[in-house]
Amino acid sequence: MNTINNIHNLILKKIESGAIRQKPKWHFVLMTLGIVFGVIALFLVLLYLVSFVAFFLREHLLFEALSFGPRTVFEIIYTLPFLLIVLVTTVFLILHVLVRHFAFAYMKPVAATLGLGLLFTLFLFALVLLADKESKIARFGQTQKVPGIEAIHTQLKKRAPPLTLAGTLLEVKGNVYKLKLKNGDEVTLMVSDRTRKDRPVYEVGDTLVFFLQKQGSELFVVAIRLYDETKETIMPPQGGVKP
């Protein structure tokens, strides 16, 4: 009881001397506004990053590449926008620090932050893909020349290896395929027995996608698939050839 009295008197003395002061009401109003704007800003940043990743994956046909199995997984990992992943991780780390500091519940902050962050990102990812707006959101930073974001776009374009090549088949001679690309260039590609094909035979005029794998200074054709330009999607396989 004596200790309580001491605390009581000590606090009253501190209040009277001005050592302890009440925070003004505007401080709490500003703090609430800051939190609200912070959450909105965080949401927008995450939406943008997720959209960009989705756009990047779709533009490089990486979703389709997954259907070729584990061989292409390495290539996908190689082409991942690591800069963005670092950025997202940084956002999560900031979140984690905030949760750790302010969480007063019976939960582990790391697990909670990562779990909720992952769930939230996946939800956002699915939403972005379903809404099919990823390219618009992702290109926003580039077209509006937002500082920093434009640089990310340029850097990523430089870093990304040409994993896929799409074009119209002009000629087939044995293992040699001649393609006309969208920009008018004509390229000749040699396939091997290890190349996976989704059809036994391709005909002149078919639009094909070649999936390439870099080994040293050479590119190897890992797989070929028929591409539907109107739907911008790869056709379902029919009697394909597996190595």
Partner: protein, 191 residues
């Protein structure tokens, strides 16, 4: 004739800068908070420090107190936060993965077994095993049985749905009964 002021009346005075009014608030809550922290933390040295922090924080942040809620739940919430900070520092892995009761609401139900048990006996039994209970169970039992907070007040202190309060109390009681039973058996075996 003496006029009895409510907590909210006193809080209004404190908000206007009346330091003595805060003294009155301290008078009302010092003993309660000491008791709560003592049972929750089981560390007399820590209780004094935490109590001081709680009262100072309550004064500093009093302008943020929403008068549509009770002052008791607000001040217990501060005490809860400070106590958890102490527990966090004590343990490297203090709490379980996550608290599903905080996210998923349950239908509240009435526990009939409580009607048949003398509350004072129950309190005495639980007191013996409080220290052995997990923090989340220990705290809710302290708030409910010893501080006599309502479900609504507990839900405000712990920031969990009201419907989850009842469920957690019942789980905590069940766990406490198990421990009491175990202790009694052990004592009998010893003798």
């Amino acid at each position: 004739m003496t006029v009895t002021y409510t907590d909210i009346d006193i809080v209004r005075k404190v908000k206007q800068g009346d330091a003595e009014a805060f003294g009155e608030l301290m008078n009302r809550y010092e003993a309660k908070l000491t008791r709560y922290l003592g049972r929750f933390l089981h560390d007399d040295d820590a209780v004094t420090d935490v109590l001081q922090d709680v009262l100072v924080k309550a004064y500093i942040n009093i302008q943020s107190f929403d008068e549509s809620y009770t002052f008791s739940s607000w001040v217990y919430r501060i005490a809860h936060n400070e106590a958890l900070n102490v527990l966090k520092k004590k343990k490297s892995t203090p709490f379980s993965w996550f608290d599903p009761e905080a996210l998923v609401p349950y239908f509240a139900y009435h526990d009939k077994t409580e009607e048949n048990i003398d509350l004072e006996v129950l309190k005495k039994d639980i007191e013996q095993v409080l220290i052995k209970l997990p923090e989340s169970y220990r705290e809710i039992l302290v708030l409910y049985f010893y501080e006599e907070l309502s479900y609504k007040e507990i839900s405000l202190v712990l920031k969990i749905p009201i419907s989850s309060v009842g469920v957690r109390i019942n789980r905590a009681k069940k766990k406490a009964y198990e421990l009491v039973k175990l202790e009694t058996t052990t004592i009998h075996e010893y003798h």
